[in-house]
């Protein structure tokens, strides 16, 4: 009944509605049904994201182990013990070092190549759709599928080594402890580049044509224009690209698992997420794995802040 009366009032365009529905409007908004429309999504987020997020932190501070469903066991609070255990594990140090190598190769390569290709794409009109589609295809394809081809291409007797002839690296790419991680980084750059090209392409649309025109009037060449107009013009996109590329790097799992056969050779391409899987799920130590997850996320946050300073530094 009350809903009817509100509808009636709303139908009336009079300037002073009844005080009762007005108070309701003030409390829940003009269309309180919006709450009902949002409820399933909010419940989903709380159940699948917010609660597990808190749970991860809880697990990382307790002596946690797997039990059969419904069995109540004591899981004592252990303070920072899991964190200490993780940080003193040489494998963890190795995996963070690997990710460091990965990021040093992947992030600058991604930023440079995607900006250059986006810029070229922006100038050329012929075959534009074809180019856009071909750059984006690796991004929409399952990593598991393309990993198959890369294994084939980079194997001992693969096409890449056939092409290189005597220049081929001796322990081949993926089984070479110095080259394994760079190859993984190269693979991920190739796979993700299309997405970043589109990000830059969108950002390039926001640079006013007039800037290029007045620059060429002033005698600036194409290369000068690229560095003085294009690069600063897409700075906010660059911040986003470096951030997303870093997050992708920190999430690395499928590639070391499949491309280098489980982080080999000899742990030269393990990633923190791969260790979380090994420690937490295979060996049944979810507590240290959760601690590793927390450390990893904090690490990404710190790197993101540093990058923001570096890339977006000159922003007002």
């Amino acid at each position: 009944m009350t809903t009817d009366s509100t509808v009636g009032k709303r139908r009336d365009p009079g300037p002073t509605p009844d005080p009762a529905p007005r108070r309701r409007t003030k409390l829940l908004g003009r269309q309180p049904l919006g709450l009902a429309f949002s409820a399933p999504y909010v419940i989903f987020i709380l159940a699948v994201l917010a609660y597990p997020l808190g749970y991860a932190v809880y697990i990382s501070f307790h002596d946690f182990f797997f039990t059969a469903p419904g069995v109540a066991v004591e899981r004592p609070f252990v303070g920072l013990q899991n964190y200490i255990q993780v940080l003193s594990d040489p494998d963890v140090g190795r995996s963070f070092l690997n990710i460091g190598v990965f990021l040093i190769i992947n992030v600058p390569l991604t930023v440079a190549l995607s900006l250059i290709l986006a810029n070229a794409l922006n100038r050329v009109t012929r075959l534009r759709t074809f180019f856009r589609v071909s750059y984006y295809v690796p991004y929409v394809t399952a990593s598991v599928a393309v990993v198959g081809v890369w294994l084939f291409l980079f194997s001992q007797n693969g096409l890449i080594n056939s092409l290189l002839g005597s220049l081929a690296p001796d322990p081949s790419w993926l089984v070479n402890s110095t080259l394994a991680m760079p190859t993984v980084a190269l693979y991920v750059t190739w796979k993700q580049l299309g997405f970043f090209i589109l990000l830059y392409l969108a950002a390039l649309q926001n640079i006013p044509e007039e800037l290029y025109e007045s620059a060429s009037v002033d005698g600036a060449g194409k290369i000068r224009q690229f560095f003085s107009i294009t690069v600063p013009g897409v700075r906010s996109a660059s911040v986003l690209v470096t951030l997303l590329a870093t997050i992708t790097g920190a999430n690395l799992f499928t590639e070391p698992y499949l491309l280098t056969g489980g982080g080999g050779p000899d742990g030269a391409s393990t990633s923190p997420v791969f260790l979380m899987y090994q420690e937490g799920i295979l060996q049944g130590n979810p507590d240290t794995a959760a601690a590793l997850g927390v450390i990893l996320v904090l690490g990404v946050l710190v790197i993101a802040l540093i990058q923001r300073r570096l890339v977006g530094g000159k922003e007002d």
């Binding site: 699948v48 071909s134 750059y135 081809v149 009037v217 794995a289 990893l296």
Partner: protein
């Protein structure tokens, strides 16, 4: 204001003298591009396209070879070396059809939940005024920044251990059920519709449910296609989570069973690369096909709300 005006003034005065002999400035650059004489850019792009497409071509060729030929001539199809045997081989080790069905159920479940629950939220965020709207919006943005690796262990503990949802479609689907990016896309599209339209419908006494289903949804059909495509590639390509949840081959999506084949079984096969690449083609084909078919929708999403037409 005055400074702004002066700024535009100086700008026009600098451009006019140069623009006088040439065509008007707006079109000049575009025309230069159309003239096709951007050889360096074009070569760069063609080189890029080759690097991006060649592995896919090689995937197909490799999947059809009787004997893996890794020499340079092996990159071209030779009549004597073509076979469908690899597809039979991989199908004997991992049931391709079963894998496709499982991937389909997993992906379909996510798409269904995203459409059913995501559209109302997107609409509410764009065209309804209610308490907490800002919070829901902030939540949606925040969610996209939560790294999955932090959720890995707790979700595994909860879904697999506590709720016992290992080897089930529900356990697979649950963490991905509503795609937040799709919700964002819905909101962006609903936001582009004029608010007066909805005000008018409300004054006429239409319920919100009716406005949503009979006015708003028919107007954003392209958004729904876009969101479905966008949502599709997530679960279809997802490896880590279904890999953790499904140990029983009968429930494994194709990405998981193919990955297991690559890491375990391949060593015992006669032509492991042929079989792997055959499986890879089957896994890649639906996503690549859909993408090429609907590439316009895919690309316009990423360009974002700048596409107003």
């Amino acid at each position: 204001m005055a400074k702004d005006f002066q700024h535009t003034m100086t700008k026009t005065t600098t451009t006019t003298p140069a623009g006088a002999p040439a065509p008007p400035p707006r079109t000049s650059r575009r025309k230069k591009g159309k003239g096709g004489l951007k050889p360096l850019s074009f070569i760069l792009l063609a080189l890029g396209a080759f690097v991006f497409l060649f592995p896919f071509y090689y995937m197909l060729i490799g999947s059809l070879q009787t004997e893996p030929d890794t020499s340079i001539t092996g990159a071209f199809p030779t009549v004597g070396n073509i076979t469908g045997q690899n597809y039979v081989l991989i199908n004997e080790s991992i049931n391709l059809f079963r894998g496709l069905i499982n991937s389909g159920i997993f992906t379909g479940g996510v798409i269904l939940c995203t459409v059913i629950f995501g559209i109302p939220v997107g609409y509410a965020l764009a065209q309804m005024h209610f308490r907490g709207r800002g919070m829901v919006f902030a939540l949606m943005l925040l969610v996209q920044m939560v790294p999955f690796q932090l959720l890995l262990i707790p979700l595994y503990v909860l879904i697999v251990r506590d709720y016992g949802l290992a080897d089930s479609y529900l356990g697979m689907t649950l963490p991905f059920a509503i795609n937040s990016t799709a919700v964002f896309v819905f909101r962006q599209y609903f936001l582009q519709l004029p608010a007066s339209l909805f005000e008018a419908a409300r004054i006429d006494g239409a319920s919100e449910m009716r406005i949503l289903t009979q006015i708003a949804i028919p107007l954003v059909r392209p958004a729904i296609v876009t969101a479905i495509l966008l949502t599709f590639i997530g679960p279809w390509n997802e490896f880590l989570w279904p890999f953790l949840v499904t140990k029983d081959a009968a429930y494994q999506p194709l990405a998981v069973s193919l990955a297991n084949y690559i890491s375990n079984v391949a060593a015992t096969a006669a032509n492991p690369f042929g079989a792997i690449l055959a499986g890879a083609c089957v896994l890649a084909a639906p996503a690549v096909g859909l993408f090429i078919l609907f590439q316009r929708q895919f690309i316009s999403t990423n360009i974002g709300s700048s596409a107003k037409g």
